[in-house]
Symmetry: D2
């Protein structure tokens, strides 16, 4: 789809409008471009389910990290367009697929202690996914401290935090989490965040889980500092869901579609400034600043509600081995 | 900006993606195109204030109605970029400018009875403006029926309705309003609605008031039936605020920007299908349907909150002649 | 429990603090007092389910109407303490019991057209049940007007309205409903409302359905005008759920408990003013006005959320004969 | 009002239903009882304003601490019944009175760094005050780190945290705060919390500020661990507002009112079990557990909204010496 020079230009445009390639599957697609060949240092595997397909992208070495713009690690993408429909049985299946894939990253004893962190601003709909997952999660740590032994069968100690956003707290999210981690001392952190995608089809239909945590600048809130094993001292699994597409991507795609149309007609431009696309997009989006304008479907409120149930259900199923199917169904709906 | 054939094409593209030109000032701008001459049958007047500028567009006859795609009537646009800032004194001035312009349409005795109608879905942020204005308005009709005479000095009888949206009620909004109008028998109806604009600069900075009521197909919820003097039997003043830009407009603007860039370089296409732009935009936006995807700034929740205060304040000031400045300030904040 | 003179006194106290006996089972209990004999003109029947018990109180004649303070008609009470627990399977059973009992009042052809009305204020938690049921209901009327025939199998035409409250609209709720009824022309109206109970055990565990509609003065919002067959011209089924206990009831129960304690000790008062209890309660509750103070459990938000799902599910199952178990489960959760 | 033995009984009843005497002025009133004499080790001072009266209770020594059941320190109570009315000018005055009294506890350089903490659950109306104050506060710490020097004139570095509640996080609130304090290193902490009062007149009309921080067991959420200078290592100012009365207090007051009525009639009981009141209240409130049932006025949502503005305004005025009157008015409304 893209030639070498074009990729560089595309990424430059994105950068200039604050657009981050949050999804590894999208980064890979762009980098591979028209060559159709796998990127050196990147391994890909796939699984299929009735209502979901899973793509596992492994970034194996530093050279692949540089090309992909994402740290070495494993990125699992669950794609399930059915999440946009009112189909509770199918949502349940997606939750189970999510749980199974989360389990690849969860290597814990029954006494392990896990901290869930929901990033984002619960007052701004597309950024509210993280706090909503926290609200719907099965939190048990306080019961472990106070309740009798028999209540704990099959449950792990889980705590949860919705740290808020920099604009409201005045504190870097990573600082708040680090402070709490030093008190709670979890063996594992799971961070839930809203992402931006390059395609509107992905909004609330795609879930990415990664063992690399959160990179600086990623997420629709552009988290400033990393939340990962390096900064937190324990493994961090990131669960991200695209809830918006940056308006700059829509603009860029439209211009790109035009260029393709021209190529089909064997026409070409001469004398165009290399930065012309950036210039045009800037003029279209300038008033609010490009990175600040996002595209969402009208039904975004209910899509996020449904997605928060699927993720809270999947996490609970992955973390509490003794959870019954009935309890689980409860968390999904 | 546009040549004749281009306007036709542009409007066709908009129509195919369910985009309506809700603002008369924008429709006029497009129709006038590059000619710079006023449209026959359209009169324009302007006023300036410290924090707001006002444009009055009158569509005088049926020929202008056909060209503009909007019914004969008066459309007043208040433009106030300051509404995006935390400046309470400036917001108060905009509310007063709104009140003064609403008064042009309010020709009532002190015993008149006015019905406010807030269109839209309070669960979907950019469509929640109407219901929020209703919540913040100074409603008095029940006091007129129950309270002693001395409480009513300087107040008119005002009632309010938030009828909900078709998807939740199963009933055309116009049917609900008509049913209530036949009970309440107001002398005037004011309808508040969320609109779509062609420019992101207008989001929550522009207020349009019109004596034509609501046309079918307008508003971001695409109200299906008209709410106007014809259907309601009494004058209907519409107060509309752009809260979104359709994604299709962003896409179209980007392509258009490209074409302009080419013209500057004295280049032209050959052999392009006339529907190429529509085709490209369709491909970019297709997954959710073009009309369903909207662009909003991230801070849309707080912008709508502030705007609902300004409008509720302006309406109260226009309808209740005895309202004091202090009461008014309360309604603005 | 109560002697004749005491009942009269109790009802007087309630009336003076704006407390209405919304539940027929509670009115019957009070009126029967200590006699243990059934009230003439009142018939009672019972049914039991695993997770719910059902009491059917029929007020047969005008003399019973006078004694009970509730109009002639049938009052079905579903009691299900399990609604306070996280038990989705049990909630589903309660929804089915509700559907079965609603069906006693639904005598409709497959082409019938039903209007749901959710009373109350969605901004005030304990009064938000009605609007929340409307949001969760399966509304189809607009599909009947626009969709192809094959989509309608097994569905009836259902529309829905949340008319708001007098303080916000300035319009009597009954007027709004009547206006809409004259447009929609339903064969049946179902009205959902929040009630006050005499016992905190009933909060969000009891559902009353009645073929008498809504009486003036009932509900926690003290609806001013009746919504019933007389005012609406078609049958009105009322679905009511206690969400609060008036503080005056707590005060009265405490005093009453004291009197009982005394009796057990064979002591009695002399010289007490007959209005002493009213006087005491008034002093305790006076600052906000007795009728305005309500008692709720801390978890009222989530109790109302769960109850709105059960009721929306039960209504949908009762009205749409073709609804599948899967669809139904979706509406319950 | 109370005799010695009665006070002991009253406090026992409260304790058994989880009722804490959060307000020092109420504790003092009860302890003083009918004697009318000041409690040894307690000093009281008063100030009056047009719309507010201020009572300063100092608990000077350990013996007073034991009698009052509250730690040695200064408790300032601002009483302003006008907060229940729509009177913006009066609310502004109360905010200024609050600011002046907060300043007694704020002994900081212009470079000091302050952390605001809003306790409570934003999903449960009467417990949402803390998080709502955080949302409305003027937070600047991130600007100090990123913005140019000239923006900071007259501002102090303020950050803010809404840590959530144990039931949702599984983590003691004090642990979360301590973790963040170790990162942010503030010179002063201000904690905002919802309290329970003994009188419904106090709901959202009284503000208590204290230099003792939060004691274990206080607040309507019954915070389990203390948040004070001892646990946090820096001074902690607590700002508390009664938003509920425990139902047990209503019950107890009713019984007490009865006893008084009897005394007036020169009657007395014999043979009453000393625990009779506790027994009666238990029977009335038992189903939900006494401490869990709270009394609130119907308009609690809007009362809390107004109060959160007054407190956020007062805090901002106390902490930012350069705040102008206009900025301040904005925060109040």
């Amino acid at each position: 789809m893209y030639l070498k020079g074009e990729i560089r230009l595309l990424l430059e445009i994105y950068r200039s409008f604050g657009v981050n390639l949050d999804l590894a599957v999208e980064a890979r697609e762009i980098v591979r471009g028209e060559t159709g060949q796998e990127i050196p240092g990147v391994k890909v595997d796939r699984e299929s389910y009735e209502h979901a397909s899973v793509t596992i992208v492994e970034i194996v070495d530093k050279s692949a990290e540089a090309v992909m713009g994402k740290p070495v690690g494993t990125y699992i993408t669950v794609e399930a367009p059915v999440l946009r429909e009112n189909n509770p049985a199918a949502h349940q299946q997606v939750g189970e697929v999510l749980a199974r894939n989360l389990s690849r990253f969860v290597n814990l004893s029954e006494y392990s202690n896990i901290l869930l962190v929901g990033l984002g601003n619960w007052r701004a709909t597309p950024d509210a996914l993280g706090p909503k997952v926290i609200e719907n999660s099965l939190v048990t740590r306080h019961l472990f401290n106070y309740a009798p032994q028999e209540l704990k069968g099959g449950m792990r100690s889980v705590s949860a935090l919705a740290p808020g956003v920099l604009g409201i707290t005045g504190i870097e999210t990573a600082e708040i989490i680090k402070g709490v981690v030093e008190k709670v001392r979890p063996e594992l952190i799971m961070v839930i965040d809203s992402l931006a995608a390059r395609s509107v089809t992905r909004i609330c239909t795609t879930i990415q889980i990664a063992d690399t945590g959160i990179s600086p600048g990623s997420g629709i809130g552009n988290r400033r500092a990393g939340i990962n094993r390096e900064t937190m001292g324990v493994p961090v699994v990131a669960i991200g869901v695209p809830t918006v597409v940056h308006a700059a991507v829509i603009a860029q795609d439209s211009i790109n579609g035009f260029l393709e149309e021209m190529k089909k007609n064997n026409q070409a431009f001469q004398g165009l400034n290399p930065g012309f696309a950036q210039h045009i997009i800037g003029k279209v989006l300038e008033p609010f600043g490009g990175g600040n304008l996002t595209v969402t479907p009208k039904e975004i409120d209910s899509l996020i509600h449904a997605m928060s149930k699927v993720i809270a259900g999947g996490i609970s199923l992955a973390l509490h081995p003794g959870l019954t199917a009935d309890d689980y169904a409860y968390y999904l709906h």
